[in-house]
Symmetry: C2
Subunit: 186 residues, 2 copies
DNA sequence: ACCTGAACACCGTTCAAGT
DNA sequence: ACCTGAACACCGTTCAAGT
């Protein structure tokens, strides 16, 4: 894509520019297609410049995943606050919608590349994101935990199988309808 | 690891040797740590040698994923044939056990790297693997489809969240017990 | 037919040097 | 403090040449 050239020597906001460009490349080419040199080129900066802001490619990917979890948290919290009625099903719909709307980012958030090395920042972001989810249905009691896990695993599995193309919607089928059908199932 | 050197010029079985070594490296280092040059080195062969048997690194990963789906299919079919009683819960347990026992391979089977380009061989292997699963619960009828999807998404989501470390077993908790608790949940 | 050796374009990363 | 330019070790991949 077009590089935003004629930037001054001191960019001023390179870190954020890198992150925004990275999110676009990620959405278009996936995590495998997101190279540090490509990114530097796309932003119109030298190959070494990103290293002032990210220690490594993995650190950049981690930062992207963290912002993914933050956006996810925001979407979840809005729902949790909005209506007391049927929060669980509303969150399920929001969960699926977020994942499908941000497919590559969502996959990155759960990528094994990042899990392999210790990344406490990522862990914290994930815990914050799923904290709300864990609370719904009363995550404290033993039965509440099972109910929450059951709902969570269903929606997460649905998302993953949809993203992988293992499950396809039938012609004319609505995603929200499928979610509630699956959620109401014994 | 130790290279099996003093092999003859014509290896004879290089393709299978490569696949076996690749499975070991995959289990140890994950897909990201599996390079073609590393693999060639580990087997004691020149960097270009693997290209006689795999067109690219992606083709090698695809071959690994296909054998993963085949092993998975075998495990599922054994169960489907064994006992008519409680097939669904038996398959759920086998599903989770396979995934946890072959974590890196299982992830590769669902990796986005491979999904991105057309890989009909992979698609066929996946369809064969999940065919059995789709049939259980009578996948033909509309309600049967929902029941099967509900069971499948729950167990797949559980596996993914366990592999990602988002869900942890509580002290002394049995994985099979958790599966059946989650599966019995409304 | 199968493998080697050398090469190509590329990558992530480092580091001295510039502003 | 932030960025450039040039370099390093490494990849995946190709191709002529060997057996």
């Amino acid at each position: 894509m077009l590089a935003l050239l004629n930037a001054p020597y001191h960019h001023g906001d390179l870190r954020n520019v890198l992150l925004e460009a990275a999110l676009i490349i990620l959405a278009r080419d996936g995590a495998a297609g997101l190279g540090l040199r490509d990114l530097a080129r796309a932003v119109g900066v030298s190959p070494a410049a990103p290293y002032r802001h990210f220690n490594s490619r993995a650190a950049l990917l981690e930062a992207l995943a963290v912002t993914g979890f933050q956006r996810f948290t925001t979407a979840m919290n809005e729902l949790a606050a909005s209506g007391p009625v049927d929060r669980l099903s509303a969150m399920s719909r929001a969960y699926v919608r977020f994942a499908l709307d941000n497919a590559a980012l969502f996959r990155l958030m759960f990528s094994s590349e990042l899990k392999r090395d210790n990344r406490p920042g990522l862990r914290r972001a994930a815990d914050a994101a799923f904290g709300t989810l864990r609370q719904v249905n009363g995550g404290d009691t033993a039965t509440g935990r099972i109910a929450a896990l059951s709902a969570w695993t269903r929606v997460h599995g649905l998302v993953m199988l949809l993203l992988d193309g293992q499950i396809a919607l039938q012609p004319g089928e609505d995603i929200d309808a499928l979610i509630s059908q699956i959620s109401d199932q014994h």
